[in-house]
């Protein structure tokens, strides 16, 4: 062998292939070029390989022209697996596109207008009844008072800029329970987090190690601030568990008719919430 590893006799086919394929540079490339120029065996092998190289490229390229559509059964099987992994159909994704949010706002405005119209008609109807039937003042007064009552209903609030307030801001009574269920959640099983019961004090060993800093009340409070909750929701439970195999905290926030379930990473409460997944569960009453 020579100093650079090139054999003194015979042709190094791999090295020659690298040369033909443009995979060499610098000293090796110059050395192989010299061998081809000075050694008949190298020159013959090079000429043979260079010609065959082009032919093999053509064969391979031709293979690429054969149509190979993905089998429909593969795609349907995948779609089925994805659906099995996905959250329950009752779970509505919370994150929406700007267009979807605008559409929801338009619907909300329309519904608010319709509700106001219904209240107005009801009030007019009751007022009319009192005019023509008499003795209905109490009912009319109750109906008319309803909007004020609604405005005064106490509940979780938002700051002036719309930022949600964390559990501490809402008072000690709203501090979420904490749990370490050991569950490895998936989007499909996330709903079960609503059924967990927590405790005020956690055994540190029960919490996955990467999540232990998040059990600190101040850090958790920061995390919940960063996470945010829709107006009217209160964080009720934090389960220090796993999501898709990775340590994650599952935060359940509820209002009177729905729950928001958020999954955050161990870094929540540092620079951001590190939201991994979020869904809302809407209760639908059929009557």
């Amino acid at each position: 062998m020579t100093r650079s590893g090139i054999p003194d006799d015979g042709v190094d086919e791999d090295l020659l292939a690298d040369y033909v394929g443009g995979a060499l540079d610098g000293t090796d490339e110059a050395r192989v070029a010299e061998l081809i120029a000075t050694r008949p065996d190298w020159r013959a092998a090079h000429d043979r390989m260079a010609a065959a190289d082009a032919a093999v490229r053509a064969d391979l390229a031709q293979l690429g022209t054969v149509p190979t559509p993905a089998p429909p059964e593969l795609l349907s099987g995948l779609a089925e697996r994805f659906r099995a992994e996905a959250p329950d159909p009752a779970v509505v994704p919370l994150r929406r596109t700007a267009a979807e949010r605008a559409a929801r706002r338009r619907r909300a405005r329309w519904l608010a207008g319709a509700a106001a119209a219904v209240l107005l008609l009801a009030f007019a109807g009751l007022a009319g009844a009192s005019l023509f039937g008499g003795g209905q003042q109490d009912s009319a007064a109750r109906t008319g008072a309803a909007p004020d009552s609604a405005r005064q209903t106490p509940g979780p609030t938002r700051s002036e800029d719309g930022a949600p307030l964390g559990p501490n801001a809402a008072g000690p009574a709203d501090t979420p329970q904490r749990a370490a269920s050991g569950t490895d959640y998936t989007p499909r099983t996330l709903l079960s987090a609503r059924d967990r019961s927590g405790t005020a004090s956690l055994a540190p060993t029960a919490v996955p190690a990467p999540l232990r800093p998040l059990t600190d009340p101040d850090r958790l409070d920061r995390c919940l601030h960063q996470l945010g909750t829709p107006s009217g929701y209160t964080a009720s439970l934090v389960d220090f568990a796993r999501f898709r195999g990775r340590p994650a905290a599952v935060v359940v926030a509820s209002d009177s008719s729905s729950d928001q379930i958020s999954v955050v990473g161990p870094a929540c409460g540092t620079d951001a919430a590190h939201l991994l997944y979020q869904t809302a569960v809407v209760s639908v009453h059929m009557s």
Partner: protein
């Protein structure tokens, strides 16, 4: 890097990155849309790398399910398609390496077992079968590089991103793979029976090839 946003009327207007983000945020149909958009190419690469429809289907299914689950780990340092290809090709390579000790005869496109044609009157389809069979005898790393670069025309740089090696390594794997295929495919032009290249492919060590 490939086009992330095929602007085809009637298709979901979101680009690949938007679809992946939507999936992570809980959009239940976003990942399926993304997969359907690239399924033909991913399937083709898997089929040519493994040479077996059943194994390719299993590899693609496992890989895309894994991608579905770990989509939140995508950091955007490569195109979404590159990331998807990487996961699929790695799944194929794992399978190919596992079965290296027990090589199987690749199945033809139709799924029915047919002998590999030799001789002067080979049709295009027979040529494809012969080339596929010869590819199957290469070391998996060389095979994957050749499938990406020579069969499907991916730029060397993109193949390097998919396989997470240096571009020079892709060039070397392709060059050495082609050199080995010469012996196997020479009969397509020379009308000579193909020699056994197994002994040549057994030793894949060498300068520059990793």
């Amino acid at each position: 890097m490939r086009d992330e946003t095929p602007a085809v009327p009637g298709m979901d207007p979101r680009d690949d990155t938007e679809l992946l983000r939507a999936h992570v945020a809980g959009d239940p149909g976003a990942f399926e849309t993304l997969v359907r958009r690239h399924s033909d190419r991913l399937w083709a690469v898997a089929l040519r790398t493994l040479g077996d429809r059943e194994e390719a289907a299993d590899a693609v299914q496992d890989a895309l399910l894994s991608a579905y689950r770990k989509a939140d780990r995508f950091r955007g340092d490569a195109a979404v398609t590159t990331w998807l290809h990487r996961i699929v090709v790695n799944a194929c390579l794992d399978r190919a390496r596992r079965r290296q000790a027990r090589p199987t005869v690749p199945l033809p496109e139709s799924g029915t077992a047919e002998p590999v044609a030799t001789g002067p009157a080979v049709s295009d389809r027979d040529t494809a079968l012969t080339v596929q069979a010869a590819l199957g005898e290469l070391p998996p790393d060389q095979r994957a590089a050749l499938v990406l670069v020579d069969v499907y025309g991916y730029p060397v740089v993109e193949a390097a991103e998919i396989l997470q090696v240096a571009p020079g390594t892709i060039k070397s794997r392709c060059a050495r793979g082609r050199a080995r295929l010469v012996a196997r495919l020479g009969h397509l032009r020379n009308h000579e029976p193909p020699p056994d290249v197994t002994s040549q492919t057994a030793d894949d060590r060498g300068r520059g090839a990793t």
